[in-house]
């Protein structure tokens, strides 16, 4: 009972802080916080396949950027797109793209999977970079944020930064809930089992390919939703949003935040974006210091920033899912002889 209460205190305090934040800080920081939340959502989405599925994907920025382009292309010239139409279309397009890319790339394993996803991501990048579909390398503007209308009444005004922030927060909370549910469900355990021991999972009768494909599609759709709102926030999409550079940055967020938990990558995203923000304004050579700090964090906290909370509070924040305690590489290094 008592420990249950303790388990709730930290998340509730964080939630309270998240709700209170926009009322306390200037608009600029509210927008920065929204950006962090949406990147965090992208990182959490990626972690479903990377951390829980053991599949390192380098094409998740493509789903993120593709979503932005879908919003830009479904927005009428001189008025706002309706969220009820453009968001489902975006999710469908991203889901379809993830299903196709996943079905083809999941036939490969390990380093080849990374290379194939990278190749697909770059294909989408060049699709928008080298053709006139989305304004070529110049990108496209989204002049109006999507309308959230019920009949003719506006339910939510996304133009207001504080309102937008709460929408982003809602998306993040839904993502956390969904991913927590998935990893604790039979599906999540089957996904982790396939990561920990593919051969045994197959022989036990798990449809490993299908489980991974479904995880890849869910992850792609969530990345798309994050991309949709990001594009709406900035009012602009460019091919760079689909590029491998962003994919790799999100991967760093995942690794830095902690792959063993649902919320770790969210923290990773906040650390990375926060670092960039602080360093950019204080020094010209910020990338050098940024790199050193990232290296330091990886050395000091091999389990991710998420580990800090267990160091401080002396417990784990997320219930560990089966086999997630040790990352694959570390596991295979355990001496077999020690078991005899």
């Amino acid at each position: 009972m008592n420990s249950k209460l303790q388990n709730l205190i930290v998340p509730l305090a964080l939630l309270f802080a998240a709700v209170a934040l926009p009322l306390l800080v200037p608009t600029y920081y509210v927008q920065l916080a929204s950006k962090m939340l949406l990147m965090g959502m992208l990182a959490m989405a990626l972690n479903l396949v990377v951390g829980f599925g053991g599949l390192v994907s380098l094409c998740h920025a493509a789903f993120f950027g593709l979503a932005g382009y879908v919003l830009a292309l479904t927005s009428p010239e001189s008025q706002a797109a309706s969220i009820w139409l453009s968001l489902p279309i975006t999710m469908a397009v991203c889901g379809l793209a993830a299903a196709i890319i996943g079905a083809l790339s999941l036939r490969t394993k390990g380093i080849y999977f990374i290379m194939v996803t990278l190749a697909f991501g770059e294909m989408l990048f060049y699709l928008f970079h080298d053709t006139k579909i989305g304004g070529g390398s110049d990108g496209m503007y989204i002049y109006f944020k999507p309308d959230v209308l019920l009949g003719s009444t506006q339910l939510i005004d996304l133009d207001k930064p504080r309102t937008f922030y709460f929408v982003a927060l809602g998306c993040v909370l839904l993502t956390v809930w969904l991913l927590r549910t998935l990893v604790n469900a039979p599906f999540g355990h089957a996904l982790a089992a396939a990561r920990d021991n593919e051969r045994r999972s197959v022989s036990l009768g798990f449809p490993v390919f299908m489980v991974r494909l479904v995880a890849f599609v869910i992850s792609g759709v969530l990345a798309g939703v994050a991309g949709y709102f990001s594009a709406a926030q900035f009012g602009f999409v460019a091919p760079q949003l689909l590029g491998w550079h962003l994919s790799a940055t999100v991967l760093v967020m995942v690794v830095l935040g902690g792959m063993r938990s649902v919320t770790g990558p969210l923290i990773g995203a906040m650390v990375i974006i926060g670092l960039e923000e602080v360093l950019k304004s204080s020094t010209e050579h910020w990338k050098l210091i940024y790199g050193l700090i990232v290296i330091f964090i990886v050395f000091a906290l091999p389990g991710g920033v998420q580990q800090l909370s267990s160091l401080i509070f002396g417990r784990k924040v997320d219930a560990p899912t089966p086999g997630t305690e040790v990352w694959k590489g570390a596991r295979s290094m355990q001496p077999e002889a020690a078991n005899v």
Partner: protein, 258 residues
């Protein structure tokens, strides 16, 4: 088809062949595994025993031949569909979920059998049927007390027991055991032999093993392989006395002595 089931044949393999490029690892192998029996496959190293198990489990596709499980042809099924159809296997080299608990290992096996791989809602801990099947498998293999231990902290013998428990949790009709006694000490081996003896109740067991004492203690039927082919098959006493077996497997000097 029903003729096969009526005779109590759980698994029938006919004319199995497996080629790796020019090498014939398994050639024209036919055998029946009966329900309620342990069928041991023996033979010198490189005889094709492990390849045969991999062909039967679906880990390797056959080059030619037919495999029938309980009257149903399963030749073209992959390993995962055969697992669901009732083929359970253990591995020569321990193949478990090392960083999960013993219970989670067995629970995953039970879950796989229930076909719940894509259930996205509801916590796994609340699936009573799956948990029950996992508990039963642990009880049968004597691992109940170790349920909450992480699998990589078990002794080698216990890990081998866990291999069997995972197979049992999938509730198979046919169990394929690939050298279950490998690397075991004498007392561990004895416990494992008792465990395997109990597996054949209501099931068919195909056993590949090098320990001849164990094989003759366990087997109801024996098939001897050499160079990818079956050289003799039948009751243990018949096989033991078979001249070809004695020269091929036990060495020619034994053959002369017979």
């Amino acid at each position: 088809m029903s003729e096969i089931a009526a005779k109590g044949i759980a698994l029938r393999a006919e004319g199995l062949e497996k080629r790796f490029g020019g090498l014939k690892a398994v050639s024209n192998v036919s055998l029946d595994v009966h329900a309620g029996e342990i069928h041991a496959v023996i033979g010198p190293n490189g005889a094709g025993k492990s390849t045969l198990i991999n062909l039967l489990s679906g880990d390797l596709p056959v080059t030619s031949g037919t495999i029938t499980l309980g009257g149903k042809v399963i030749t073209t099924m992959g390993a995962s569909r055969r697992g669901l159809a009732g083929v359970g296997r253990s591995y020569q080299k321990t193949t478990i979920f090392q960083t999960s608990t013993v219970f989670e290992n067995v629970r995953l096996s039970a879950q796989a059998r229930s076909g719940h791989a894509l259930w996205m809602f509801g916590n796994v801990r609340n699936d009573a049927t799956v948990n029950q099947r996992a508990d039963n498998a642990l009880a049968q293999t004597g691992l109940t007390a170790r349920a909450q231990t992480r699998a990589n902290l078990l002794s080698h013998g216990e890990q081998r027991q866990l291999e069997i428990a995972m197979v049992l949790a999938t509730d198979p009709q046919l169990i394929l055991l690939d050298e279950p006694l490998a690397g075991m000490g004498q007392s561990e081996a004895k416990r494992m032999i008792d465990l395997i003896k109990g597996l054949k109740v209501r099931r068919a067991v195909l056993l590949v093993e090098h320990d001849m004492d164990a094989v003759f203690a366990l087997a109801d039927r024996l098939t001897v392989m050499a160079d990818g082919q079956v050289i003799a098959s039948g009751a243990p006493d018949y096989v033991r006395a078979h001249p070809t077996v004695r020269s091929a497997y036990l060495g020619h000097d034994h053959g002369e002595a017979a």
